[in-house]
């Protein structure tokens, strides 16, 4: 049984002032971790080799997955926030694993050769104006970009969804965090046209947010 757990990584190397620079793990993070833990058998049976987390923040999710899958996979992460990249690397190190972090917009600098087996994204999903997506703000902070999602909270997510079929392998899994306002039904429809079957595998209502995790798969 012990083997099937997705242990929550130790984050004691990060302090209060670090969370002024990167997104502190919250309900959405924990819902994603719970969903991945429940789905660990599905993930293991895919035998993913190349995994990618987009927008890794503190690195808690990529580190948990990297630890669970061990030397059978290579975990990469991206974030546009330079502190997130640094902390992701440190979180992995503090937990005796490795996450290879590259600072970039989404997956824009990854070769689009259907090579990623497992993709994770807890995006900025909050409904805001499009202007709030301008990066970074006057005092140089990236923190608002951790949650500001533009119209319907979909502007950032949609830029990834558009070409995810070219990024992901013929047999692959993709876990995405959404809220009700993002119109999950529309996202499911959208991705089915790229050959992905989607299913909501976890939901939680936290204060006024209806959070869900959708699992997309193809070739399985």
């Amino acid at each position: 049984m012990g083997e099937e757990l997705l242990e929550t990584p130790d984050l004691s190397h990060l302090n209060v002032s670090d969370y002024e620079k990167v997104y502190e793990p919250r309900e959405d993070t924990f819902l994603l971790l719970d969903a991945l833990e429940k789905d660990l058998n599905v993930i293991r049976s895919l035998q993913p080799r190349l995994c990618l987390e987009v927008g890794s923040g503190s690195g808690v999710v990529s580190t948990a997955v990297a630890r669970a899958l061990g030397s059978s996979c290579f975990m990469m992460a991206t974030d546009l926030n330079p502190f997130a990249c640094r902390f992701t690397r440190e979180t992995a190190q503090a937990n005796k694993t490795h996450v290879s972090c590259v600072q970039m917009d989404l997956d824009s600098m990854i070769r689009m050769d259907t090579i990623i087996d497992l993709l994770l994204f807890n995006p900025p999903y909050v409904v805001t104006s499009s202007e709030e997506l301008n990066q970074p703000d006057e005092d140089g902070s990236y923190l608002h970009l951790a949650w500001a999602g533009g119209l319907k909270g979909r502007e950032v997510t949609d830029r990834l969804l558009e070409h995810v079929g070219k990024l992901l392998a013929p047999r692959s899994l993709f876990y995405l965090v959404v809220i009700k306002e993002n119109d999950p039904e529309d996202i499911l429809k959208n991705l089915s046209s790229q050959g992905f079957q989607g299913k909501t595998i976890a939901s939680r209502k936290v204060r006024n947010e209806h959070l869900s995790v959708i699992r997309f798969c193809r070739g399985l």
Binding site: Q47, R49, L50, G70, S71, S72, C73, F74, M76, L80, P82, C85, R86, R89, H98, S100, C101, V102, Q103, M104, D105, S108, M109, I110, R111, M112, I115, S130, L133, G150, E155, D158, R159, E162
Partner: protein, 133 residues
């Protein structure tokens, strides 16, 4: 940055760039680290990597020792080959230096092991910009 990471990076999204691969690698600080060898992982990774890009990158920084310039034919059973690939993919760590787009010459600095490939909106192709900027 591991050479496996280098192998999957491309600057194709830059305006006016048609292939953007492989990125040129300049390393000013390289660390060699120990990583657990998993023969099956390396075997299963071979079809995903661009082998000549890997070989060229390793050679350009002088870490191609023992690596043949093409994939060994019987690679699944060739432990010596798989170990050499393991070493180059995972144990050679670029701490600082830069990556360079082979077409535009745009440089991306690597600091503390992390490449910075964040570019301005006006540097990328429209297709990456569906949000109306």
């Amino acid at each position: 940055m591991k050479l496996l990471t280098h192998n999957v990076l491309s600057s194709k999204c830059l305006k006016g760039v048609s292939v953007g691969y492989p990125l040129r690698l300049n390393a000013t600080d390289i660390k060699v680290v120990d990583v657990d060898y998993n023969s099956e992982f390396v075997q299963r990774m071979i079809p995903k990597i661009n082998y000549s890009a890997l070989y060229d990158a390793a050679q350009s920084i002088g870490h191609h020792n023992g690596l043949p310039d093409t994939v060994a034919e019987d690679y699944e059973h060739n432990e010596e080959f798989l170990k050499a690939v393991h070493h180059v993919l995972l144990e050679v760590d670029i701490v600082s230096g830069d990556l360079e787009c082979p077409e535009s010459g745009r440089k991306f600095p690597i600091t503390r092991g992390i490449p910075n490939m964040l570019v301005n909106e006006n540097e990328v192709n429209e297709i990456n910009d569906s949000n109306g900027y």
